[in-house]
């Protein structure tokens, strides 16, 4: 037989003025299970809590109902008090007679009193069905996995590692550095990208808490927050990194030339190569698709020139496993291919190039030594037209969203063009100039005023050739007239899109992605770095287009989140989660379908005790379940119940009125 104690609060005058509290107490005392009922001025005060504690001991209460303010306010307070009296804290129920009665029925004391009585009756009925629950403790493996070695991944890895937490950093290409390594100077300060990035890259390589695994991909992730197991495929590099000294003899002698993807194909690299001179790790890899030795079994020059004997043509892909507790995804972005813009002659006119190609050209370490040149004839362009929103904000040919960074990098390109070619003239076709950021508007002004770049509002309609010039036709909407510009070169500010492997990666990690392929955050405003899956976080352009400051900020935020998870030996979790009764479960797996967190898996259990034959039933992963109760509502055979909100608790409330 349940023994319930009811403690009604006056809340000063807040409740007592509008609800006849003593009458309510008298009414409540009539309930069979209520062994003790009392009122007090401030239940949440220390003396108030003491009343509860004393009564629990004195009346051997099996559950406690506090009728006071909203449970969202003081549920934790009273749970602590109950727990201090030696009762399980989840045997407490709150009847919300302030927000739901005294404050909203101030003109009808009688009705408010009746309602308060009913609310308490409901809470008593529910509390009778309450069970003892215990906080869930999930042990954690204190190691983080960072996927992607661009600036986002580098920053997150360094921040986590600086907190003395081991980090596994996986990068798909032979070197970390990512897109930022390809940039020349960065807006809005025009400091050199390499100068600020390479120190961080070196830090990663030498950090005692970071295990850098380059030229690799994550191919599997099992488990849940604090207890993940990642499978990582190390692609065969055909170079034994422990022997290689990075002397570069092999790359010099290799006879095979391939378009250099780091330089956007403007120049060539060898079949054995390091992507760029400051690469970390600075060890070459063999491109198996182009190596003569691997393709045809002929050549072997690199092996001959390598004094250390580091070349190993027999190397195979290798899969390694790491146990980790949290994941930071930082896979970065790709550039949209402007091919659909046929009216701009993309693909036909060599002098219509993309902004990243231009970026590589103006880079001091780039293929042209820092000078922009026309790919068609090698001449230095004097008149350059920059066109923004290529692919961005274009549902017809590209994508709907704004790529966020193009306004700024186009202003930067206009300035850089002026720096490199002093007598040049830059035109920018824009639809809007979106320069929201610290020092951004000033930067655009600098492009417009200091370098005399002409901004024309409008989208270009057509580019055609006249001799060796490109004729760019567009409307200047401010003038309201069509203008034609005789240009030497056209630079298209192409949109940024998520890396094409994002959907596959998202499925593998069990997180969601949007229609473009960007990985989805848990809440667009309040949880922008978390994913819906606990323990997996997002940094940088894998979540949405971002500039470098935002990316670094988000990466550091990820690091803070990861350190938060690892701050104790175990994760503490609210015990109000779902539980399966395998005897009732028929294994239809509809619950698996509706669970938003993939917290439900299946397991095989014997049909009867000791039987060899098995059947499949649902299994809830305590570490992952967030306690929404979707599964409990769709379970037809009542096998799943949500602790704290079981069917019997809710029905008790319904029928007690």
């Amino acid at each position: 037989m349940a023994r319930v104690g009811v403690f009604v609060c006056f809340c000063g005058a807040n409740i007592a003025d509008f609800v006849d509290v003593p009458a309510v107490v008298e009414e409540v005392k009539k309930i069979r299970e209520v062994k003790y009922a009392v009122y007090y001025k401030y239940m949440c005060s220390d003396p108030g809590q003491q009343i509860i504690k004393d009564a629990i001991a004195q009346y051997r209460l099996t559950s406690v109902v506090v009728a006071a303010c909203s449970p969202r306010m003081h549920e934790k307070t009273f749970r602590r008090a109950v727990s201090e009296a030696g009762l399980n804290p989840y045997l407490l129920e709150i009847a919300n007679i302030r927000e739901h009665s005294s404050w909203v029925h101030q003109k009808n004391k009688k009705a408010a009193t009746e309602k308060a009585g009913d609310l308490i009756r409901m809470a008593v009925a529910k509390s009778i069905a309450n069970e003892q629950l215990h906080e869930i403790s999930v042990p954690v493996t204190k190691r983080a996995l960072v996927i992607g070695g661009g600036i986002a991944g580098i920053q997150a890895a360094l921040d986590i590692a600086d907190a003395h937490i081991p980090v596994v950093l996986v990068e798909r290409s032979p070197s970390i550095g990512g897109r930022m390594a390809q940039l020349d100077e960065t807006f809005p300060t025009l400091d050199c990208s390499q100068c600020i990035l390479t120190p961080k890259m070196v830090d990663v390589a030498s950090h005692p808490y970071i295990e850098l695994i380059p030229y690799s991909e994550v191919i599997g992730l099992e488990g849940y927050v604090g207890n993940y197991k990642a499978k990582i495929k190390k692609k065969a590099s055909y170079v034994n990194f422990s022997l290689c000294t990075g002397c570069g003899a092999c790359t010099q002698k290799c006879p095979v030339k391939v378009p250099n993807e780091f330089n956007m194909g403007i120049d060539k690299r060898k079949a054995i190569y390091t992507p760029f001179p400051q690469a970390v790790p600075n060890k070459p890899v063999i491109d198996a698709e182009h190596c003569n030795m691997l393709l045809k079994g002929k050549c072997g020059i690199c092996s001959k020139v390598c004094e250390k004997g580091a070349i190993d043509y027999t190397m195979k892909d290798e899969v390694i496993e790491r146990e980790i507790g949290a994941v930071v995804v930082a896979t970065g972005y790709d550039l949209w291919d402007p091919k659909p813009y046929e009216e701009y002659g993309v693909g036909r006119f060599k002098d219509v190039i993309t902004s990243l190609e231009f970026e590589r050209m103006v880079s001091a370490s780039g293929p042209t030594g820092g000078l922009p040149i026309r790919p068609s004839d090698g001449k230095v362009p004097k008149t350059v037209v920059f066109i923004k929103c290529i692919g961005s904000r274009d549902e017809a040919k590209g994508i709907e969203y704004c790529s966020k960074i193009c306004c700024m990098y186009t202003a930067k390109h206009a300035i850089l063009l002026h720096h490199k070619v002093h007598d040049s003239r830059a035109y920018v076709f824009y639809m809007d100039v979106r320069a929201a950021g610290k020092g951004y508007e000033e930067f655009v002004k600098r492009a417009q005023v200091e370098t005399g770049t002409t901004y024309l509002r409008g989208r270009v309609s057509k580019i055609y050739k006249m001799g060796d010039k490109l004729m760019v036709r567009g409307e200047d909407a401010q003038l309201g007239q069509v203008v034609e510009i005789e240009a030497d070169m056209v630079v298209l500010a192409t949109a940024i899109i998520p890396y094409k492997t994002n959907p596959a990666l998202a499925r593998l990690l069990g997180i969601s992605y949007d229609k473009y392929g960007y990985l989805s955050e848990a809440h667009p405003k309040l949880r922008p770095v978390e994913t819906a899956k606990a323990g997996i976080f997002l940094a940088g352009c894998t979540q949405a287009p971002k500039d470098i400051p935002d990316t670094v900020a988000q990466a550091s935020a990820c690091a803070a989140k990861v350190c938060g998870i690892f701050s104790g030996d175990a994760l503490k979790k609210d015990p109000m989660i779902s539980v399966v009764n395998p005897d009732y479960c028929s294994g239809c797996q509809n619950c698996v379908q509706v669970c938003p967190y993939q917290a439900i898996t299946t397991e095989e259990i014997p049909i009867t005790r000791g039987s060899k034959e098995t059947r499949t039933v649902a299994k809830i992963n305590e570490g992952v379940c967030q306690g929404c109760g979707s599964c409990a509502a769709v379970c037809r055979s009542m096998a799943i119940s949500l602790k704290g909100f079981t069917d019997s608790q809710i029905i008790n409330e319904i029928v007690s009125i």
Partner: protein
């Protein structure tokens, strides 16, 4: 012998007789029998849709209904304007069967519309159904040495949703056919610019401006002649050329031929069958380039480059 329903359009029996005639020659070589829609009427281009709604749909719809009575799956249309009107009407009717029912029952008195006949322009038919390979195999007299600028105009490839054929910005089907005949198709950026056809009579000054630019660009691209697939384009580019020259104050003198004329020529028909006399701008000089050796066009002469790596074909 395959059969093809044929809609010639009003100009086939007027201004563009040479198109109609050479088309029939070409089809004979390609072993295609043209079956003209009995008692066809004008499709309404380019005026009906400007002024009215129901009539603009009814005029082409009558032809579509009549075409269904011939038992061919495909209808070929010579004129690009007719093609555009008929095909967009078909698309509208297929999407709005109620409207089709309303019009066939109350306005047109020729029977039901089912939408079973597919519509193709003659260029599309040659490119998609016949194929470049077959055309190549039938060439008796190569047109090598002839540099042509292929002009598509607006309506053969636009709007994309209606025509479902080739690129709306830089189509290449006619260029491919011309290459199959042995001719050289030059890079021509104005191949889909509008010639102003529907203002041919009412606003000639517009036509002069638009057509003048097209002619100039073709000349600039180094073409001997312009190849077209539409009678309205042809008459604007050819018949009005002397006026345009006066307007611009300079000589252009670039002949304009139908692609079927060149196909017929390459298939071995004698020149007199091409009805060359109908051209206002004489064609003979241009055709005399056939057989001449030309230097490979469009490859810009390689100058010394600042950096050797820039040679690579980046794109």
């Amino acid at each position: 012998m395959t059969k093809l329903t044929y809609f010639p359009g009003c100009s086939a029996h007027g201004t563009s007789e040479e198109f109609d005639h050479t088309l029939k020659l070409v089809m004979k070589t390609l072993n295609v029998e043209l079956e003209e829609i009995p008692d066809w009427n004008c499709c309404g281009a380019t005026s009906a849709h400007v002024m009215t709604e129901n009539l603009a749909l009814s005029l082409p719809l009558r032809n579509l209904v009549l075409a269904e009575k011939l038992e061919n799956n495909t209808m070929g249309i010579a004129c690009a304007s007719c093609y555009s009107r008929m095909k967009s009407t078909k698309k509208y009717m297929d999407e709005h069967p109620d409207k089709a029912k309303e019009l066939t029952s109350s306005v047109i008195d020729e029977g039901e519309y089912t939408g079973k006949v597919e519509i193709k322009s003659m260029l599309q038919f040659c490119y998609e159904e016949v194929g470049v390979e077959k055309i190549k195999s039938l060439v008796k007299k190569s047109l090598s040495g002839l540099k042509v600028a292929c002009y598509y105009g607006c309506l053969l490839t636009r709007p994309k949703g209606v025509t479902q054929f080739d690129s709306p910005e830089y189509p290449m089907s006619m260029d491919r056919i011309m290459e199959a005949l042995g001719a050289t198709a030059v890079d021509f950026d104005y191949k889909t610019e509008c010639c102003g056809a529907s203002f041919s009579i009412s606003r000639t000054e517009v036509v002069h401006l638009l057509t003048g630019k097209i002619l100039e660009m073709a000349k600039e691209a180094g073409a001997d002649l312009i190849v077209v697939a539409c009678p309205l384009c042809q008459s604007n580019l050819d018949m009005r050329q002397p006026d345009i020259e006066k307007h611009l104050g300079k000589k252009i003198g670039i002949p304009v031929m139908y692609f079927t004329q060149l196909m017929a020529l390459a298939f071995g028909y004698p020149e007199k069958e091409l009805k060359l006399s109908k051209h206002i701008v004489p064609v003979e000089e241009a055709l005399s380039n056939i057989g001449k050796v030309v230097e490979t066009p469009q490859q810009p002469t390689k100058t010394k480059k600042a950096v050797p790596s820039a040679e690579s074909e980046a794109k």
